[in-house]
């Protein structure tokens, strides 16, 4: 007999938009998903991933018990046995031999406990996550220009812009709910400029001007636009005077640029560059949206500095619908940064150093916290003998898959904590079953700094536990009961508030209202912050700093052996490495397999027809897939989605930037393609 139907409000676990959804729970099971119309970000609208968000959680492929590999085969084991083994290995490991990879799919509470464990119990700063592959250039680039690497406007105020500059993202497929805001802005006569080497759905549907740029030349374009703006005197002189520093140096540099050269490099006519520059500069409120297309390059930091310069030059900061806005990929993409499970930051973006370590020693009641910056993602994958991976899939997400595979095979201990047996979990020595976002309470922070509650709708299956519980139990076994005696997520959040100044005024009680609270929120009376940098920038002098960013070609350019440029990205039906979406019927049935987009002319030259099997090779590996012949991609460029393990683009990718970003150049490497 039906006893109850409950509408549990929560946030979609996929992308950084942070859309609200209702999970309908009937007699203890999730029966379906309903729109949450009062949610300010999505207003009851969701993309297909959100509409199917509840499905993967109930897949019968869920990990339910701890597993231990014996003679190459996984056997079920108890938590006690698994913890015992892990504790022993961790305790006996040499200092820099252990690395931890965490995930922006984890909640804030999970990540806070994880970084606390790594610092207090393991006494190292060797921790990182896939944001390394996404916005690692964003933070240094934006800190050097405006003092903070966060989204400056909010999702809801994008529609107040009268010019939206979409630099790189295939917005309609990767952030549909933000695309809706752009559509609404267009309804009020906003002009939209899209930069993308492909003629994507976004370019076709929302662009007034589409700059189908030669790949990886975005900085040349941006510098060119700034030159046009300065030539025509369209810069915001008042803003530059009052709120910036370094304009003269920038101007001197920009004046040395050869616009004809830029035209050649970018493959975009000077007329079009000038028109884009004019529209952007003369708008009352111009909003830049960018993501991996700009960041996933060796020159990622320089690219983003260029964007910040452009916005400072034209006074596009401090008002709703302006700014330079990085779109974080994961549901907790912003929160992950805030919680500090990073090699160079403690919680609250406090740099890893002696002072910060002492400060946290006081808060946590411990001694000898690590004060040296730790190792980043790929360094840990390659060098750490013991690797503990939570919610991450380096076998698909990291560059140069063959190298990653070899490195993982040689580990003394590989622990993988996840919800499914991913490609990385297959290689583990110990697998720990984790709870999904629908099976625990907590908070996540989406791309516009919006801290929101996730609510537990159902129990996790079998012995699966929330990530924070797993680390607390491990910590207790390793002798740190006192610092990890949290009885629930709310208690963890109270501790987070003490350490992360931006969260100080946020409480679970205040988070009851739909749409959560956008940080910074310094006090419990403060309503949260919709727009950043209204009065000043969080730099030492409060000013925005122009940075000179010089265009440089990418790390690996096409040559005779590998004559095509290879790039990759996402499609609307899937998310990232497909862990969740390929186990969701409604999504996977739409697109069960990968493909390689090739230009019609190129295909003709190679005698490749639509649907033919093709072989792609790079210096690092080769993959087989199916050709999709199209007019929507530039000649000389091949595109693949990166959701499918059987034809994984990262087998081909490889070259990586140096410090500080250590960003792999996912969006550009050299390949050959042939029919098979």
């Amino acid at each position: 007999m039906l006893k109850s139907i409950e509408h549990i409000p929560t946030i979609c676990p996929y992308c950084g938009c942070g859309c609200g959804i209702y999970l309908v729970v009937k007699n203890g099971n999730i029966a379906g998903m309903e729109p949450w119309k009062d949610h300010p970000v999505c207003e009851g609208k969701n993309c297909q991933k959100g509409r199917n968000a509840h499905t993967f959680s109930t897949s019968d492929q869920r990990l339910k018990t701890p597993l231990i590999k014996k003679n190459g085969v996984f056997e079920e084991t108890s938590w006690k046995a698994a913890f015992g083994l892990i504790a022993e290995k961790l305790q006996n490991a040499e200092p820099d031999a252990v690395g931890f990879i965490n995930s922006a799919k984890c909640s804030n509470e999970d990540l806070y406990v994880i970084q606390k464990f790594i610092r207090v119990v393991q006494k190292t700063n060797n921790m990182d996550n896939a944001s390394r592959f996404c916005h690692s250039p964003t933070v240094p680039a934006l800190i050097s220009t405006v003092g903070s690497g966060v989204m400056t406007t909010s999702t809801t105020s994008i529609e107040q812009a009268d010019c939206i500059f979409v630099v790189g993202p295939n917005l309609q497929e990767t952030y549909p709910i933000i695309t809706r805001r752009v559509i609404r802005a267009k309804g009020k006569e906003a002009r939209v400029i899209v930069v993308d080497p492909r003629n994507t759905l976004t370019a076709k549907n929302i662009a007034d001007i589409h700059l189908q740029i030669y790949p990886a030349t975005d900085l040349a374009l941006i510098n060119g636009m700034m030159r046009v703006i300065m030539d025509r005197g369209l810069e915001d002189k008042e803003f530059i005077e009052k709120r910036t520093q370094g304009f003269d140096e920038l101007k001197n540099y920009v004046m040395t640029l050869d616009l004809k050269e830029i035209e050649k490099i970018t493959n975009i006519s000077l007329d079009v560059i000038s028109e884009a520059a004019r529209i952007y500069a003369t708008a009352k409120r111009a909003c830049i949206l960018f993501n991996s297309g700009i960041a996933q390059h060796a020159a990622g930091i320089e690219n983003i500095k260029g964007l910040a310069d452009l916005a400072l030059l034209t006074g596009n900061y401090g008002k709703p619908g302006t700014g330079v806005n990085p779109l974080r990929g994961h549901a907790n993409g912003e929160g992950f940064g805030d919680m500090g499970p990073l090699p160079v930051f403690y919680p609250g973006f406090q740099a890893v150093n002696e002072e910060t370590a002492r400060c946290f020693e006081e808060i946590w009641g411990v001694k000898n916290l690590p004060s040296q910056p730790g190792m980043t993602y790929m360094d840990m994958v390659e060098k750490c003998k013991l690797l503990y991976v939570v919610g991450a899939n380096p076998m698909l997400a990291a560059p140069d898959t063959n190298r990653v595979k070899k490195a993982l095979e040689e580990k003394d201990l590989l622990v993988v904590q996840d919800i499914f047996m991913t490609e990385t979990a297959e290689m583990a020595d110990i697998v720990l079953p984790a709870a999904t976002a629908m099976e625990k309470d907590g908070t996540i922070t989406c791309l516009d700094r919006r801290v929101q509650r996730i609510h537990k709708a159902v129990q996790a299956p079998g012995d699966a536990k929330p990530d924070w519980v797993i680390f607390c139990e491990l910590a207790k076994i390793m002798g740190f009961e006192q610092q990890f005696s949290f009885y629930g997520p709310e208690q963890i959040f109270e501790e987070i508030r003490k350490c992360v100044p931006q969260y100080r005024g946020i409480t679970y009680e205040r988070l009851k209202s739909p749409g959560g609270i956008q940080w910074p929120c310094p006090t419990e009376e403060h309503p949260g912050t919709e727009v950043m940098f209204v009065e000043k920038f969080p730099t030492p002098d409060g000013l925005g700093h122009f940075q000179i960013a010089e265009y440089k070609p990418p790390l690996e350019v096409p040559d005779d052996t590998y004559p095509y440029i290879f790039t990759n990205g996402r499609v609307v039906f899937h998310f990232h490495t497909g862990t969740m979406t390929r186990r969701t019927k409604g999504l996977n049935n739409e697109l069960p397999n990968g493909f390689a987009e090739i230009n019609r002319e190129d295909a003709r030259e190679l005698s490749i027809e639509d649907g033919n099997p093709v072989l792609l090779k790079s210096r690092r590996g080769e993959i087989k897939t199916v050709a999709r012949v199209t007019d929507d991609i530039r000649p000389g460029l091949i595109f693949m989605p990166w959701h499918f393990s059987e034809c994984a683009p990262n087998v081909l990718t490889g070259p990586t930037a140096g410090p500080p970003s250590r960003m792999p150049e996912f969006k550009f490497c050299a390949v050959s393609i042939e029919k098979v």
């Binding site: 949610h39 297909q48 549909p176």
Partner: protein, 406 residues
Amino acid sequence: MKGDLYLAWSCDDKIRKMGESGGAVTALLKFALEMRLVDAVVAVKKRNGNRYDGVLSLITDPDEVVESAGALHFAPVNVAKEIHKYLDGAKDLKIAVTCKPCDCRAIIELAKRGQINMANVILIGLNCTGTVSPVVAEKMIKDEYHVNPEDVVGEELDNGKLIITLADGVRIQRDLEELEKKRYGRRENCRRCSFNIPRMADLACGKWGTKGRKVTFIEVCSTKGSEFMAKAIETGDLVVETPDEETLKERERKEKQAMELAQRWEKRDFHGLKGLSYETRLQYWMAYFNRCIKCFGCRDVCPLCYCQECYLEPSREFVQGGQTPPHLMFPLVRLAHVADSCVNCGQCQDACPMEIPLTRLYHMLNRELSSMFGYVPGLDIGDYPPLTIVTPEELHIEQVNVIGKS
């Protein structure tokens, strides 16, 4: 009997006070539970006391019914869909449902298709001249009424005004037409809707004619409704009196006013579109459909879409999977399947993340089909959709072939 008219209120003072107008509906629902005429009451409740965040509630405790009291104009809940999807169409569950006229019509359409067991449903329809999307409402109240949306305890649409009541009793009104010019106000489909008194339900309840008295006007619309009322009156839970001439005239006047406004909006919304040539009309809609990302939101929320193996899914091998935008057949096939029965509930347009005005198209076509076939969906459970039946006259039309069973 069917056609009986009452002014009614709850005998319980607390309910009378908390109810929208005298708590008659609350009293009826409570009575139904206490007398075990139903297993549960289905009503929209404020989640967390938030009147902008309405959710469908299944109430089994009679004392809980009062928590759902009070009309919520900012909560366009998809009642029919949720009854079908989560309550198994009331197959084995007796329920009393209180909802908007579009919900009532959708329930009747689902019942026609064997998807809702009407024998198990007491349908208490509520007068409605429209709902406002919650986020729009909150912005409207901030920007146009200059108060904190959290301070609103009641709202009503009356005489061309949208009136809000604050906790301290203060009432503020704004002109509805003015609000709607500024893109505030009611959802687009609501503005066109002339089904303001839900006579397709068992009882139609509202406050037209009551002139601010704490009483509810109840029109009995079926035998089931009549028997239900009789029982409630007999126990004394519901107090009634006969409405006088003036009340009846006032109610008639208000209904006429609402229908005229709806007809003006329908003309405004459809006239221009109907005047387009076929080519231009197709271009107009294709420009919208090119934005479609195939989220299936429209299909998921439509109360009339319940096929387990939906024709639009790749497994049916009709619309190719994985394409964005999907082939034009995607929106057009759904349109063909649903158009004759669209009840203009607006849920599809609410759900679309790409701002495609779906209800505008579906409702427009439904009105065309309606006049062609002389058929209005959602009124009579015995009235079958024209595209599912063949009349004797149609059988004799040249070029009409009937294939199949003789």
